[in-house]
Symmetry: C2
Subunit: 300 residues, 2 copies
């Protein structure tokens, strides 16, 4: 069964602490290693996590505030020095092309092939036969997106049934997998009878934003919702002022989107020694909540 | 007696390792906290060293390669968020103004007052009554400088002698300190007889460069020479190719400049588990050599 492995490469907010680096989440499945946001120090966090940066296939940036992107230039440089020969697909909100151009100038033009995909409208921004990534518009005072990653449902053949019917390896098998009934030796074979479905997987990442309905829609039925909670719900006014979520906001998005699990990240340094209060507040609303630590790994 | 306290905030080279961050050296004395180079992750390294970034008074950049400057944007941002109200004086080689402009654009213009001093010719680039900073041109394929920091010699009055002569607090004392003999109650008082000298201090920082004579001149009579040695002397060809120093080059600069002590930094990841070979090679040429580790502190 296909799984999504997630590594929390940084779980702090704008000012890093001894325990929490700036934001970065690596999602790995099949041939993909997708980095969501790339705060300063990311290449070293990858080193601590014993993950080669050259494995990265795509980068999605939620928004162009420093703590979500200042690890990009160093990462690009290390990829160039490591002879990274693939095209690096980089996705982000409006302005992404300009920011990548500035980074290229800052680095005196490095030798890697960066393919920029500037996302101008929400919806499906990447789709293959295996997976789909949707973006939703967030509210953070600058162009900001949240992303959901869906591994698609798979249809498998029931091997014993196929064997019993003596069906040969042929396009007929593909028809059955696509749900099409077939005729074999004058007999109708129903697709439903000889196939079974492996359900898809959905992980949604909602970073810097005020509480909003689009986050709930984007996260609908997620197996895992990763959401920022920069502030405790006791500091809700500050959260509104800086357009961030509180612990309760994150839990409410999890609850209303009918997500199965919530992991909270992007914790302000003010809670460096009391992160449990964030977790406790969220759990009151959504029980299956955990707070992320740097280098935590989870498999969905 | 005035001392210079130095903290090695990063001792790695272009690719950071688990043990070594990108380059940064903080020199503190009197009211000054001067950061020499600012590689990625510097604000977090400061956090690990328990040094507030707002203490920084000046930044000197040796050259604009990423591993020496990619910590600047994050540091600027953190200073802005910490209401840093001083002018931040930033010095660097040709191109510095343009690079700071690019960083400002990348950060969407942050609210701190950065005073850029672009150094167009070597020599004294900063001088106060207390200290002096000289720059020397290095060879690294891009505009690159090395810096020496000199605390000036101080002249103190011999208090018992002054008391005995019943010299009052007056401009006459200043004359004596400046080495001028005076007449007091019809009697000549020699400055030399009633003053003593506290010697100055000199620390020279030679980072990325090929071996060159200007580094030796700049480092002349240093109490401490901090020099890069990206490569072992067994990899001298690579050092020449990439315009870096070997362990032996660093030791030769220390020896020929008559420096008192050598600390080696900017170690390539290839020696992550064998840094002692770098130290051993250098010691053959210059005995008083140490290899720096991240967060090492030394007082000169």
């Amino acid at each position: 069964m296909d799984k999504i492995s997630l590594v929390f490469l940084g779980t702090g907010n704008a000012i890093p602490t001894e325990k929490r680096n700036h934001t970065g989440i690596l999602a790995s499945f099949a041939q993909e290693n997708i980095l969501f946001d790339c705060g300063e120090g990311m290449q070293r966090q990858l080193r601590f996590a014993k993950i080669s940066p050259t494995k990265i296939t795509r980068i999605f940036i939620t928004h162009w505030h420093g703590d979500h992107m200042l690890g990009l230039p160093g990462l690009f440089q290390t990829l160039a020095m490591s002879n990274y020969s693939k095209a690096l697909h980089l996705y982000g909100p409006k302005g992404t092309r300009r920011f990548i151009q500035l980074i290229q100038e800052l680095l005196m033009h490095i030798n890697i092939n960066i393919q920029v995909h500037e996302i101008s409208s929400p919806g499906t921004v990447l789709e293959t036969s295996q997976f789909k990534i949707n973006a939703g518009e967030m509210s953070h005072g600058t162009a900001a997106l949240a992303y959901s990653l869906e591994l698609k449902e798979k249809v498998h053949l029931k091997k014993p049934a196929i064997k019993k019917l003596k069906l040969p390896n042929s396009p007929l098998l593909g028809d059955l997998q696509r749900g099409k009934d077939i005729i074999w030796k004058g007999k109708k074979i129903k697709a439903k009878a000889v196939t079974y479905k492996e359900p898809g997987k959905k992980v949604t990442i909602v970073l810097d934003t005020s509480f909003n309905q689009e986050a709930i829609q984007l996260a609908e039925d997620s197996d895992l919702l990763i959401a920022e909670a920069t502030f405790s719900s006791q500091d809700a006014e500050k959260a509104r002022e800086y357009q961030h979520l509180t612990s309760s906001d994150a839990a409410n998005i999890a609850k209303k989107s009918k997500s199965k699990k919530l992991i909270i990240t992007h914790i302000s340094q003010r809670y460096e020694h009391i992160p449990h209060i964030i977790e406790k507040e969220a759990k009151k609303i959504f029980k299956n909540t955990k707070i992320a630590k740097d280098l935590d790994k989870i498999i969905i």
